[in-house]
Amino acid sequence: MGKHAYIGCVQDLSRHRRVRDQRCVSAGVNSSPAQGAMASAFARTQNGRVASSRAAQPCRAPLRVRAVATTAKKDSSSAAASKAKLTPEVAKDLYYDMLLGREFEEMCAQMYYRGKMFGFVHLYSGQEAVSSGIIRALRPDDYVCSTYRDHVHALSKGVPAREVMAELFGKKTGCCRGQGGSMHMFSAKHGVLGGYAFIGEGIPIGVGAAFKSAYKRRVLGDESSDSVTCSFFGDGTCNVGQFYESLNMAALYKLPHIFVVENNLWAIGMSHMRSTSHTLGDADFPYIYKKGPAFGMPGVRVDGMDVMKVREVALEAIERARRGDGPTLIEAETYRFRGHSLADPDELRSKEEKAAYAARDPIPQLKRVMLEQGLATEDDIKAIHDRVAAEVEDSVKFADESPKPEKGQLLENVFADPRGFGIAADGRYRYELPGFTSGTAAVS
C-alpha cells in the first residue's frame, strides 16, 4: 500500500462507476487490488458474501477519486500498514475482546429477565467487530464517547467486566457506583466519556475532548498532545442537527476526532431506508459516509462485520488525527442481532435479513481467519473461550455479592464543590449538617 491508501469498502460499485465523477464519493484513494494484501483479501471475502440488498459485484474496480487526505506521508502510512497486519497477539486480543463483548451482552439478557438489572438495556450483540476493531487500536489516553448502547465500548476501552456488571445491577461497586446505569457508563481512568441517552448528544462532547487535545498542543504548548477521540453513534443519529454541527466544527478546527457511525439499518423500528434521504445521484441506499466530504473530511464505508477491515480503517483514521490532519467519518455497516432494547419485540425486521447477517457473525469469521492463517490454534481459541466464560461468570458473582449504595450516596456528587448545596438556616453549609451527605467520595 504505497500511497496513503484509505481503503474503503464501497458497496455496489456498479452504481459508483456511474457517479464516480461526482466528487462526493468516498474521499479516499483506492488503488487496484494488486496493491496491498488487504485490498485483495477484501476482494476475496467480498465475493459471494454480499447481502441481499447489494449487487453481487466483487469490490475490485479502481475508484478514480481525487485524494483528499492531504500530504502523502509514506512513513506514517507504512506504519499504519504494518500495524494493520494481523499478528497472533493482535488477532487473539481482538478475538478475546469480541467474545467478551458477546458473552457479556448475552449474560445481560439473562440477568435482565431474571430481574437483576432493570430499566432500559440496549445490547450490542452482533456489532462487536466495530468496537473491537476501533477501540483496541486506541491508546489509554485516547477517549471514547458513546450512546446508550455502551456496555461493549466500555469493555473494549478497558473498564473491567466486574465494574460494568455491578453498575448494571445498580451496586455501589459499579464503575459509576450505581448512579449511571446501563445508558451512562463513565470512566475517567479509561477515557470513557459516557454513555448518553439522547442520540447525537455525545458527538459534540467527543469533539470537545478532541478540542482539548488540540488546545493542549496549540495553546498550552504541549507538543506531545495528540490524543484522539472516537464518538460512536447510530444511523438514526445521522439525521440529528448536532451531528452536522459537530462535523462542521471538527473539520473547521481540524480536531483529532473520529466519527463512527454504526449503521445497523434500524433505529428502533424505523428503517434507515425510510428515514434518510439519498445523496443526489444515488438510487439505492442512503449512504452516510458521503456526508463527510461535504464538511471537508474523508468519509469511508467499511464492512462492520469484519474486524480486520474495521481495524485497518481505524488505524488510518487514527494516524490522520494524530498527525493533525483532522477528523474522519467512518460508516461501519453492521447489525444488531437483538432488538433495539430488551423491551423491543423486534417484529419489523425480516427473518431473511437477520439470517443474512447472522451468517456474517464477526466472531466465527475471525476464528476462521486465525485458524487458516495460523495465528492461533484450536487450543488457543478454546483457552480464550474459557477465559471469557470465567470472566463473565466472575462479573456476575461479583455484582451479585456487591452491596447496594448506602443512603448517604444519594446526595453525593451533585456538585464537585459541596458548598453548592447552599447555606442552612443556622448559617452553616448544608452539606456540613449531620446526615446530609457523606461528601464527595472517590470511586474506588
Binding site: Y143, C145, C176, R177, G178, Q179, G180, H184, F186, S187, A188, K189, L193, G194, G195, Y196, A197, F198, E201, I203, P204, I205, G206, V207, G208, A209, F211, K212, Y215, R218, V219, L220, G241, Q242, Y244, E245, S246, N248, M249, L252, E412, N413, V414, F415, A416, D417, R419, G420, F421, G422, I423, A424, A425, D426, G427, R430, T440, A441, A442, V443
Partner: protein, 366 residues
C-alpha cells in the same frame, strides 16, 4: 462625571468616556458603596473579570458567537481577542447545540470554557447539553468527571426585542440539580460573581441583564483587586429596613431600591435583598430578614407560575411561617409572551409603582 476604570491588568478597557452617556447612577447606589472610589460599568466589570481570569489560568477560554472579531455582540468581550489570541477567544458558527457540547466535552477533558450565549433565549437550542451533559455528568459518573464551565449571557427582557428574545430563564435553570445559577445586579456583583464562577469547579449559569451593561456603579478598591471574588450562595442586603423584606435579583434590585426610597417617604422602611445567587438560594439570609421584618415581597421579571417568587413563597412557608404577619406578596411579569409595542411591553414587566403598590398591600396600607 466620567466613568473611568483604573486597573493595570486591563488596558483594553480604556476609552470609556462614551459610556458616560448611558449611565444611570441613582442616589441609592451611593448609599451602600461606602468606600467607593471608582465608577465602573457592568460591561467593564465583566470584561475585566474575563480578562483577569484568562490571564490567571491558561485553561480558561471563551467561545461563542461574535465574541472575537466583532468584540462581542454586546461588547462584553471587547479587546480580549487582541489580548489573548484567536485560540482562546473563539468565534463559533451559529450552532449552539454543537458548540455548547464541544465546550462541555472540553470541560470534561480539563479545560475551563466560558461559553457565551448571545442571549439565553438561544441557549434553548443547547439546553440538552446544559442540563443533560453539563449538569448531570458528575452525578452519573459518581464524581469522576466534573464540568468546570460557565454559561453566560444576557437574560430576561431588553427593550422592544419581542417575544422570542425576552424570556427570563432563572426558574428553568435553578430547577436543575447540578447547576449553580447566578444573577448579578451591579458592577461589584458582576466582577465578583463572574470571577467566582470561572474558578468554580461546577457548571454555572451566569444570567446577565442587557439593560444594565451600560450602567455605572461606584466600586471600592477591593472590588478592583484581581483576586476579588464573591461567595456563591450568599445574598446581599442592599438596604437595611424593619418593616418589610423585598427579595429581588438582577435589574429588579435597582427597581426595588427605588421603590424603597419612595416607600420611605411614606413611612415604610423596606429591607432590600439582592439574591445574587438563585441556586443555591441563600435561604438563611431571607429567613433572618423575615424574622426581623415579618413581611415579605418577592420581585421578578419572569412569569409568575413556577417562578423564583414561587420558590421564595415555599421558603416562606417552610422556614418563616411563624414569623410572618401577612401572606407573602409576589410581583412578577405578566403571564404573556412579550409584545413588541412599547406601551404594551411596559405593562408586561414590573415597574417601580407596581412594587410600591404590592409592598403597601402586604404591609396593610394599600
Amino acid at each position: 462625571m466620567l466613568a473611568r476604570f483604573v486597573c493595570p491588568a486591563t488596558t483594553g478597557c480604556l476609552g470609556l468616556a462614551a459610556q458616560a452617556a448611558a449611565r444611570q447612577v441613582g442616589q441609592w447606589s451611593r448609599a451602600y458603596a461606602a468606600a467607593a472610589t471608582t465608577e465602573l460599568t457592568v460591561r467593564d466589570a465583566l470584561n475585566s473579570a474575563l480578562d483577569e481570569e484568562m490571564a490567571r489560568d491558561e485553561k480558561v477560554y471563551i467561545l461563542g458567537e461574535e465574541v472575537g472579531e466583532y468584540q462581542g455582540a454586546y461588547k462584553i468581550t471587547r479587546g480580549l481577542l487582541q489580548k489573548h489570541g484567536a485560540e482562546r477567544v473563539r468565534d463559533t458558527p451559529i450552532t449552539e447545540a454543537g458548540f455548547t457540547g464541544i465546550a462541555v466535552g472540553s470541560a470534561f477533558a480539563g479545560t475551563k470554557p466560558v461559553c457565551e450565549f448571545m442571549t439565553f433565549n438561544f441557549a434553548m437550542q443547547a439546553i440538552d447539553q446544559i442540563v443533560n451533559s453539563a449538569a448531570k455528568t458528575l452525578y452519573m459518573s459518581a464524581g469522576q468527571i466534573s464540568c468546570p464551565i460557565v454559561f453566560r449571557g444576557p437574560n430576561g427582557a431588553a427593550a422592544g426585542v419581542g417575544a422570542q428574545h425576552s424570556q427570563c430563564f432563572a426558574a428553568w435553570y435553578s430547577h436543575v440539580p447540578g447547576l449553580k445559577v447566578l444573577a448579578p445586579y451591579d458592577s461589584e456583583d458582576a466582577r465578583g460573581l463572574l470571577k467566582a464562577a470561572i474558578r468554580d469547579p461546577d457548571p454555572v449559569i451566569f444570567l446577565e441583564n442587557e439593560l444594565l451593561y451600560g450602567t455605572a456603579f461606584p466600586v471600592s478598591q477591593e472590588v478592583l483587586d484581581k483576586d476579588f471574588t464573591l461567595p456563591i450562595g450568599k445574598a446581599k442586603v442592599m438596604r437595611q429596613g424593619k418593616d418589610v423584606t423585598i427579595v429581588a435579583f438582577s435589574k429588579m434590585v435597582g427597581f426595588s431600591l427605588e421603590a424603597a426610597e419612595q416607600l420611605a417617604k411614606e413611612g415604610i422602611d423596606a429591607e432590600v435583598i439582592n439574591l445574587r445567587s438563585i441556586k443555591p438560594l441563600d435561604r438563611a439570609t431571607i429567613a433572618a430578614s423575615v424574622r426581623k421584618t415579618h413581611r415579605l415581597v418577592s420581585v421578578e421579571e419572569g412569569w409568575p407560575q413556577s417562578g423564583i417568587g414561587a420558590e421564595i413563597a415555599a421558603l416562606a412557608m417552610e422556614e418563616c411561617f411563624d414569623d410572618l404577619d401577612a401572606p407573602m406578596g409576589r410581583v412578577a411579569g405578566a403571564e404573556v409572551p412579550t409584545p413588541y409595542a412599547a406601551n404594551l411591553e411596559a405593562m408586561c414587566f414590573p415597574q417601580v409603582p407596581d412594587i410600591v403598590r404590592q409592598v403597601k398591600a402586604t404591609v396593610g396600607r394599600a
